[in-house]
Symmetry: C2
Subunit: 177 residues, 2 copies
């Protein structure tokens, strides 16, 4: 099984990426502390043709050396926008018809594998601070909470890993690729 060369992977250029129809997901980062996580999320969002990333509160924005180390250029392809208040981002998304999903462990949360994705809707996926998670006030303003089942000793996944698993699963539900 010969490994493929990078040029054989036929990836998009930044220009092609920008003009391609995106998957209907906007990632909202509610006060994410680590620039390394933010960069990693840009790289994953690029791979899944994500519509945009909304960076909120203390979340760092590009250009930033630490973001760049893990984004590896994906800050050039993926659209992003900064909001000083996460609630402002949520309200703007609601007004434009997005269904707001917090990825958080709450009473009444739905397991990721059971989430139903409608093909004609757009979704905002809210991920929170590395230690504190999504703020309770933001959770209160979401339409749904989704939880990734886990079975070990740790309380949560790293946020960049959560973004990877959630984007994979929801994109797979949307279109059997």
């Amino acid at each position: 099984m010969r490994k493929l060369l990078n040029r054989e992977l036929e990836r998009k250029t930044v220009e092609q990426f920008r003009s391609t129809e995106k998957a209907p997901f906007i990632i909202v980062l509610d006060n994410v502390r680590s620039q390394s996580n933010v960069g990693s999320i840009f790289r994953t969002a690029d791979a899944f043709l994500t519509e945009a990333i909304y960076l909120c509160g203390i979340t760092s924005i590009p250009p930033h050396r630490e973001i760049q180390k893990t984004a590896l250029g994906a800050t050039e392809s993926v659209s992003w926008k900064y909001f000083s208040e996460t609630l402002t981002a949520i309200n703007e998304l609601k007004e434009t018809g997005y269904k707001i999903i917090a990825v958080e462990q709450t009473e009444g949360s739905v397991a990721l594998q059971d989430v139903h994705i409608e093909n004609d809707r757009r979704y905002a996926l809210v991920f929170g601070h590395e230690v504190n998670g999504v703020d309770q006030e933001i959770v209160n303003n979401c339409d749904l909470c989704v939880e990734i089942p886990q079975f070990g000793t740790k309380h949560s996944f790293n946020i960049a890993i959560s973004v990877g698993i959630v984007l994979w699963e929801l994109n797979k539900k949307r279109l059997p690729f």
Copy 2:
């Protein structure tokens, strides 16, 4: 939707983790450079009750300050073993009946969503170096190559993100949790 407190998540203690039956997956890290990635992989492996992590070649081993920063203690729960040569690990796994899957972009690779998991088999999942991927000689010794479909400008996912997506998907195939 009230956020759950850590104690309400009812996670396992390290002792409970060790005595619990594991998911039949061993992660093989073929010359992974970044300690931060290794630690992150430990944390994810803990969440999915992974059998073990085999650290090979230049891959750092615990205890290590940089691994600990992202593992957050998961090096205490998840079993691991070091091999100076990845091929030695692969051969040992083959001899003990594991099916060896490289996560790599190759000719004839199978898309992750199409992989068939047999409930009575055990699997080794091989992930490679951040830039060079799984070594071609190791790929030649695997039973199958699996690829995570991606649609953006970047050539690959970060390795810790790949581990998260692959463990999620294969565990979900094995048991509808």
